[in-house]
């Protein structure tokens, strides 16, 4: 067994999220709401050498395929990610993520004085702009620190 296979073993059915920026794997799991309690197998490789990214993270989730809204949010913290759908050990689909127009209910607004942080019964809503996301309520722009505001 090679080094690489030791780190992240192959899965029979499920999703492999590859080319995640180094250090973001746990945020990817947070976005997907995966904490291990669901019972499916999860393997995570962190800071794996990568030609494209230098160091990358890789997340494998068995028996689970991602929904479009999950992929949308993923694209914000892992814009280079590829999503491989695996069935019977074969990659049957390979997709790059694309940036969505907006994100609802996943991020919290970094502006403490925003009405979405005032205990109102409201879901946050962010527009995706050139280099970040923007609160639909208070217009605050969130850039590099998106992962710090994932609210799941």
């Amino acid at each position: 067994m090679s080094d690489h296979e030791l780190r992240v073993s192959k899965i029979r059915d499920g999703t492999v999220i590859d080319h995640v920026e180094g250090g973001q794997a746990l945020n990817v799991l947070a976005i997907l709401g995966i904490d291990g309690s669901g019972g499916f197998g999860v393997s995570v490789g962190m800071n794996v050498p990568s030609d494209r990214l230098g160091r990358k993270d890789i997340v494998k989730v068995e028996d689970r395929e991602l929904s479009q809204s999950e992929v949308d949010v993923l694209s914000l913290i892992a814009p280079e990610a590829t999503i491989n759908i695996v069935r019977d050990f074969e990659v049957v689909e390979k997709n790059r993520v694309t940036r969505p127009d907006g994100v609802t209910g996943v991020l919290s607004c970094p502006n403490r004085n925003c009405i979405t942080n005032a205990g109102e019964p409201v879901e946050t809503r962010f527009d995706v702009v050139a280099d970040g996301v923007r609160c639909d309520y208070c217009a605050t722009i969130l850039r590099a620190d998106i992962a710090d505001h994932i609210d799941v």
Partner: protein, 315 residues
């Protein structure tokens, strides 16, 4: 203007703005023609933050359209302190009124209120966010003096927290305006406002002193620098002192420079400026009446296009 609510100045097109200002001019020319226009309708003044002049301005504007107004009384004694959500409060008040004017300390409050109710909502200030009805009266004042195109304006003071500044700067991008922003480094325009200005390709420049640009300006818009923005009182006095103007400062200005201020002022404009031909801040405040009348008239008409507002001449 085909809008249901007035939440932010960024929602307004040039046509929207000009339509309201044209109507404001018509109102100012013949107020009697509007006196009963919305008789029997009720405007709710929902002020979750102390305000005298904006509330009175809307109150007066509504009454001059024949409307009645209702308010929330003292904010501390209302349900706000009992922890009712804004979402619930506006849903309840929606049943009492034909339109809502909202001032609230949180940014985005008016956006949320607009999503919760079907009657028109006017944002009369949301935290450090926006204050678009102030902008309409500011634009009306500028338009009457200089017109809105080929305009060079200096906006000075607290540009970071000044919601009137955020709204005005956004609206001016609809016109051919050169905008100069003059402030201490710590109170420069927030990132989100600058982002919008750059998106529109607006011509803006930022300065830390008034003197180098004063001579070019058609309009100088002064805002208050508040003590609570500074951790240290000495620092406040030092900084605020640099952005104060008096009659002597204005000797270097063009003869037809218009000096504006959203009021209340403390000492950023010395009283001796009041006596110069530059001072326009009291007229500016007075313009709130025809402009808010025009705004309410427009929004109520949009909300009820078949209403008996005297436009159905042919039927």
């Amino acid at each position: 203007m085909r809008q249901d609510h007035l939440i932010t100045a960024t929602q307004l097109s040039r046509d929207d703005i000009e339509a309201v200002l044209d109507r404001a001019r018509a109102v100012a020319d013949d107020p009697a023609a509007y006196a009963d226009r919305h008789a029997g309708r009720v405007l709710a003044l929902c002020f979750f933050e102390p305000s005298t002049r904006t509330r009175m301005s809307f109150d007066s504007a509504a009454k001059r359209l024949g409307m009645n107004t209702i308010g929330m009384g003292d904010v501390d004694s209302s349900s706000v302190s009992k922890g009712e959500s804004l979402s619930d409060t506006v849903r309840v008040i929606e049943g009492y009124a034909d339109a809502l004017v909202l001032r609230h300390p949180s940014e985005g409050a008016a956006t949320l209120a607009g999503e919760r109710v079907d009657v028109p909502v006017v944002n009369a200030g949301d935290g450090a966010g926006q204050h678009p009805s102030q902008t309409l009266l500011d634009l009306h004042t500028i338009r009457e003096d200089h017109g809105l195109d080929d305009l060079t304006i200096g906006i000075m003071g607290d540009l970071k927290y000044g919601r009137t500044v955020h709204s005005l700067a956004a609206a001016l991008t609809e016109f051919d305006a050169n905008q100069h922003f003059i402030s201490p480094d710590s109170l420069r325009l927030p990132r989100s406002v600058r982002f919008d200005l750059h998106e529109t390709g607006a011509q803006i420049r930022e300065h830390d002193e008034l003197e180098p640009v004063l001579g070019e300006l058609d309009v100088l818009y002064v805002t208050r620098i508040q003590k609570e923005r500074f951790p240290d009182e000495n620092e406040y006095h030092r900084v605020a002192g640099e952005y104060r103007i008096d009659a002597e400062t204005l000797e270097a200005a063009a003869d037809d420079l218009t000096v504006m201020h959203p009021l209340p002022r403390v000492d950023e404009i010395a009283p001796d400026v009041d006596e110069t031909d530059h001072a326009r801040y009291f007229e500016q405040a007075h313009n709130g009446i025809p402009v808010r009348m025009a705004l309410l008239d427009t929004l109520l008409e949009n909300a009820d296009p078949d209403g008996d507002e005297g436009t159905e001449v042919d039927r």
